[in-house]
């Protein structure tokens, strides 16, 4: 994975596959603490202790289409290699919370990447129901709530190409704006 937006897409795919009806993502880039943190919380089916223990094992997956589950193990390896932290907790039937940090000025910390493209990919999942995204850069925030968009759209599909292109540009403009001063 070349950048953090691709990691985020991969993590949220896990939430969607766990039938989460609400997924909350918070990205925080902070110069003062020299940290980038990513939080992903979902109300999906969750994992028991044994499954959670195995979740970061690259040779474990609950999927039936293939026998490896590289996503979380790659993320753990990447953030720990950048003086960051990795933590995941989950409760069966309640949901999963993932929290990772990276040292912002570490040479191996991946760039943020195209978050708007990852969010669009998430929104085009047929089972997406609730999705909230908050991006904070040095205490300046941008928030996106899928519910707000669906309320505006009414009977119009989120998958309409004109709509999804608009949302992509809207998210990109706002993230570029709050990241304008990022070194």
């Amino acid at each position: 994975m070349d950048d953090l937006s691709l990691f985020l897409l991969d993590i949220v795919e896990n939430s969607l596959n766990a039938n989460a009806s609400m997924i909350i993502v918070i990205i925080n880039e902070d110069d003062l603490t020299n940290k980038i943190s990513i939080t992903v919380s979902d109300n999906g089916k969750g994992m028991d202790k044994e499954t959670l223990r195995k979740a970061i094992d690259p040779f474990f997956t609950t999927r039936t289409t293939r026998k490896v589950g590289l996503g979380l193990s790659l993320l753990k390896q990447t953030c720990e290699g950048c003086d960051g932290t990795f933590s995941i907790d989950s409760t069966l039937g309640v949901g999963t919370n993932l929290f990772v940090t990276f040292r912002k000025d570490h040479i191996d910390t991946p760039p943020i990447g195209q978050m708007s493209e990852s969010i669009i990919s998430i929104l085009l999942h047929p089972r997406i129901k609730g999705f909230r995204y908050k991006h904070i850069v040095n205490e300046i925030e941008f928030e996106f709530d899928l519910k707000e968009v669906l309320d505006i759209l009414g009977d119009v599909s989120l998958q309409d190409v004109e709509v999804i292109t608009f949302i992509k540009n809207y998210i990109k403009d706002n993230i570029d704006y709050i990241r304008g001063g990022v070194k």
């Binding site: 289409t65 047929p126 709509v163």
Partner: protein, 122 residues
């Protein structure tokens, strides 16, 4: 900078031509977005499909994503499901191939045999 007010305006202006929720007719483009697909470049492929479809004003085509299709070595994988239910699976799809698939298959109705998973995997 765009705001959600602009989305309301867009909805009101283009409502007649927009795809409605639960609409089942038209062509569906499904892109494999498992870890394997993401790592192989499925996201830019999805963006390119959206761009091509938007640029050509194809109102009856929707793009959606699915999980791992079980053929990780051949990602990015794209399935085109036509209105009549016919399904075609393309593999190792690049941004360059997207324009050809849109032009020849989605618009022209002709499968691109050279990119089919069934052909490449043989």
């Amino acid at each position: 900078m765009k705001s959600l007010e602009d989305l309301k305006k867009l909805r009101d202006q283009s409502l007649k031509n927009m795809t409605m929720r639960y609409q089942t007719n038209g062509t569906r483009v499904q892109i494999g977005m498992g870890t394997c697909g993401i790592a192989a470049g499925a996201r830019p492929v999805m963006s390119k499909f959206l761009e091509e479809i938007s640029n050509r004003n194809l109102n009856n085509v929707t793009v959606t994503q699915v999980g791992c299709m079980g053929e990780c070595a051949f990602e990015p994988i794209v399935e085109i499901v036509e209105q009549n239910g016919n399904s075609t699976i393309y593999c190792l799809v690049s941004e360059k191939k997207v324009a050809e698939i849109v032009e020849e298959h989605i618009i022209g109705g002709k499968r691109l045999e050279r990119y089919l998973l069934s052909g490449v995997k043989r």
